[in-house]
Symmetry: C2
């Protein structure tokens, strides 16, 4: 049995709580948060607490608060015996180095309100100051997911950057695709199978191998036409820079300059 | 029973052939191609032909050759009674206007050798000069997929452009994500669940609503750090331009300038 407490009441806290509750040999001791209304969402099946001076001990304290509040919140755990781990992709483990036992429990996924994320679609990236604490985090994560990785602070920072490309920027490209469809009265759903196949291909081929399109072919005539079509939209610069980046990768000299 | 012939022996021809063969009330009359070795791949279950002057009649001729060969190839069908349709996203229907019955049968999907694309993951975008011919194409496409759209040449051109964003450019972002992982010895698979969730979210939220990340928040400190980390990689410009585009969309003034 692992006894876990969560500090914070946001998206990550909610996801972790819901996941822990489904696992027999994990017990959630307390949810601690400054936001009393948010605490109510956790219901009566768990002890909720807004007074940070009354925190009980636990095997693991998971700090799932805003990045820049992690250090301050960890101070309330100074006399605890349990392991203290934050959930941030971009904050170094060292922010907790004032605590004897500390580590990182980073779920590499995007959580938003109103969307449940399936159990096995969350990779956990773990780090700890001590070997035995790392084992404890591995033990916990292993109950939640079969995707458990040991990732140091330097790697985690870089993963977070990679996530900006494959999550934030990809989503923006979806937005642009949708805008282009909307303008001509086409449903965005028409692109969904293509989007799915783009992703599925990378399970069989590397993205480098899977690349297609005018920029890869060095088809500057099509690129020019597209840039012309995009003039009013404001998305020409995105098109130009990405085409240029692809062209460079495959040694093509296209006119994908943004203008 | 719809009698179909295919001109061309490439990726689209192969996909369509494999799909037609599975459908009882579609008969493939001939596969016509200039490439005799490629014709062999279609096996003995269908009549293959490399002499374009000996084409039999059919209900529908599907021209699945390179964009700039469509017009020339269609000339061989001048005296046929059947409907002539090309499969290109970017070529106007008018390229076939010399033929009495003509239209477009555009599968909005990415086909490459060695990858089977599932039946219902191909939307068909249809256009025809005559109403009855459009019905014939709808009838055929309806046997292959439940995603059948009527799309005119102007809309199709724009769809093709949207596809560049959601397919070609997204794939390039996957490539960048993989490069960033590779450099730190992290497996690209670690990002797969996040990539899948990015896509799945857009089935519930619009990409506009689903957007997260430093550029959306206007978190210029993180953006600066990321640009610094990317300096050596050559991907800073892509990061900068996409961050700027997101920032503009949400009215944030970040320092996401590329440099
Ligand atoms: N969302 C994701 O997709 C995701 C994924 C992986 C990792 N993470 C990381 O997980 C952590 C939490 O993220 P989240 O998305 O769950 O954030 P969130 O939904 O914005 O929730 C933040 C929580 O932090 C609390 N908080 C903020 N400042 C505080 C302070 N000074 N003292 C006490 N509590 C404070 C907030 O309380 P109030 O409601 O009172 O403001 C709220 O409960 C962050 O480190 C984040 O980087 C997030
Ligand atoms: N691949 C896709 O993802 C995709 C998706 C939707 C639509 N399309 C469209 O479908 C069509 C075919 O694309 P594809 O990917 O199947 O192309 P592909 O794999 O490159 O095959 C092209 C075919 O065209 C033939 N061809 C080229 N020039 C010719 C000529 N002058 N006379 C006769 N045959 C000629 C080629 O024969 P050789 O082998 O002898 O060169 C080959 O059989 C294009 O209009 C394309 O835009 C493609």
């Amino acid at each position: 049995m692992i006894r876990v407490s969560i500090l914070g009441t946001g998206n990550v806290a909610k996801h972790l709580f819901a996941t822990f509750m489904k696992i027999e040999d994990v017990k959630v001791v307390q949810i601690i948060g400054r936001n009393k209304i948010a605490l109510k969402i956790f219901g009566n099946s768990v002890d909720t607490l807004s007074d940070f001076s009354k925190i009980s001990d636990a095997d693991i304290f998971i700090i799932a608060v805003k990045d820049d509040a992690i250090a301050a919140v960890s101070e309330y755990l100074r006399n605890k015996k349990g392991l203290i781990a934050h959930t941030s992709g971009s904050v170094s483990m060292d922010v907790l180095s004032g605590q004897r036992r500390h580590g990182v429990f980073y779920p590499l996924q995007t959580f938003t309100d109103d969307r449940k994320v399936a159990k096995n679609s969350v990779p956990y990236c773990l780090e700890a100051h001590d070997e035995t604490d790392l084992d404890l985090l591995k033990n916990l994560a292993g109950k939640l997911s079969d995707k458990v990785y040991e990732v140091n602070s330097e790697q985690r920072k870089v993963l977070h950057l990679a996530a900006v490309f494959v999550n934030n920027f990809t989503n923006h490209l979806y937005h642009i695709g949708k805008e282009i469809c909307d303008e001509k009265g086409l449903p965005f759903a028409i692109l969904q199978p293509l989007i799915q196949e783009t992703l599925d291909k990378t399970k069989q081929l590397t993205p480098y191998q899977a690349q297609t399109g005018p920029a890869r072919r060095g088809d500057s005539e099509t690129i020019s036409k597209h840039l012309e079509e995009l003039k009013k939209s404001g998305f020409g610069e995105v098109y130009g820079v990405l085409s240029k980046s692809i062209g460079k990768l495959y040694g093509k000299d296209t006119n994908g300059q943004h203008h």
